[in-house]
Amino acid sequence: MSNSSQTEESKEGNILPSSVSQVGIVTKYEISNYFRSRRFFILLGIGLAISALLTFLIAHYGVSSFGTTSLDFYSGWWGRSATFIVVFCAIFFGGDAISGEFQNKTGYFLVGNPIRRSSIYIGKWFAALAASLIILGVFTAITLANGLYYFPSSVPYQFEESFVFTLVYLISALGLTFFFSSLFKSSSFSILVTVILLLFGFSLIEELIFVFAHIEPWFLLSYGSEIVGDILTNPYPQHTIQTTGFGPGGRGPTFTTYNPTIPEGLAIMLIYFTVTAVLGLVLFERKEFT
């Protein structure tokens, strides 16, 4: 966007906004489109359903089922659910954000105007982020309401950290889904790929690596996102844990499990975001409306 600040007045009195301003305009209208869409309310319903289920379970089985401290409570509630909310938001709002422009031909309405494709891409990304933040905000509010009801004295600082890590995960997951959305022209195909990858694919690969390759899965986004839950355990899990099994003659094979350190987890998520955002942008810039 090297010339983004350039403006030029036409004889009709139009002054072309800068590319940055155009990002804001796209974001504004995309958000209003999201807020009227069925998918936003479905996702809001999913978030509320998860919250309601957790509220019911704690009320029914008692808060002790999560543990005795407030940290245990937040670990049981937030640590297990927040990443699912993020994954759903990324799939719902990012899965077909760009591919839909091709398949539904909405791109034809925008691209023929004096606007860079990058402004459209970034504007749509910000709108998806804003819509996701509202869903996440509602889930966070219900989490805190329950947390403060059962442990009114304090909110552990680890929860604040976990919340920030969740935001970083959301940003990187949206970057990833936007990338796949740019890669394909079919909405259903791009959604399917992101669903498979984020809901099952990463976990499956991580499991296979654990069983067969015995290496640290530092290249998987899901591995990096484990810091969201890990920060809510005290003490923080060790980076490597060696477990020796029992074999027929006594000692069995030794297994090594890995937990990402906080800097490592943050780095994985931020690198994922950077790489997928750049690749997604390049793909969208090059893709043709044929």
Binding site: E8, S10, N14, P17, I25, T106, Y108, F109, N113, P114
Partner: protein
Amino acid sequence: MPSIEAVNLSKKYGSFTALDSLNLKIEGAKCVGFLGPNGAGKTTTLKIFTDMIRPSAGHAMINGITVHEHKRKALAHCGALIETPEIYPSLTPSEALSMIAELRGVPHSDRSRRISEAIEEVKMEEWADKKVGKFSKGMKQRINIAAALLSEPDIILLDEPTTGLDPRGMSEVREIVRSLKQKSRLIFMSSHLLNEVSDVCDEVAMIDHGKLLVYDTLANVTSKFSGDGSDGSVEIGTLRPLDEEILKSNVASIPGVLSFERIDVKNARVRFSGGPESQERILVALVTMKIGLISFRPSSSALEDTYLNLIKDTL
């Protein structure tokens, strides 16, 4: 002066050549029809001009600015309607046009007026605040036309703009194009409808297999390429019923006239030879006859002849 120019413009999809070194320069306020059979390269050309696809070679320029190097600047004074775009279904026409107005920098003080005028121009006032998702294809196309006109651009690129419209809608679009001509715009319009082109366009460019076959005024093209290469025909319309017998003898005496044929009570076709000079002579003579002449235009059949001759030659 508004201008668009294709310089050695080529587009290949694998082994298929959609555009083959197209060179075309159009300058000034006029309406140019862009004709060609399916797959000739019309939409490809317009998509390159609007940065929807990239050329394999050559470049497209709007007002002397290369679209692919300076898209924002090149398209700042150009409104376009390519195929039938879809609008975000949850937006209303007012909101969709407001988005385009903001993106194009229509002044805030002027925005409501221009949106209202654009909606009025495409006869969608009743639907201005209804969600686009429930609209028919024709209604959406009207909004798309409004979006292309909203910023009052110097140059308007239209890709088969009457697609999906009912006969009334088609007629209204032709009326819009005519009114734009009055406002000194350059209109470049692809179409399959030869009568539509002969009705509203001043010039015509024909393309086939990605190559430009001809670009000239409608009169020159039809006189050069229809029939035996020298004949042309015009359709005339009059305010009063035509007296065939008197006219036949009077019109037949005009130098260059080959035949006079009444189409209906108030319309007739005059075939002539001698190109635009004859055409001018016939027009002057008909006006002098005081028959209540209200329209005089090259007949679509002449353009059809031209089209069929040129396209046939390239098969």
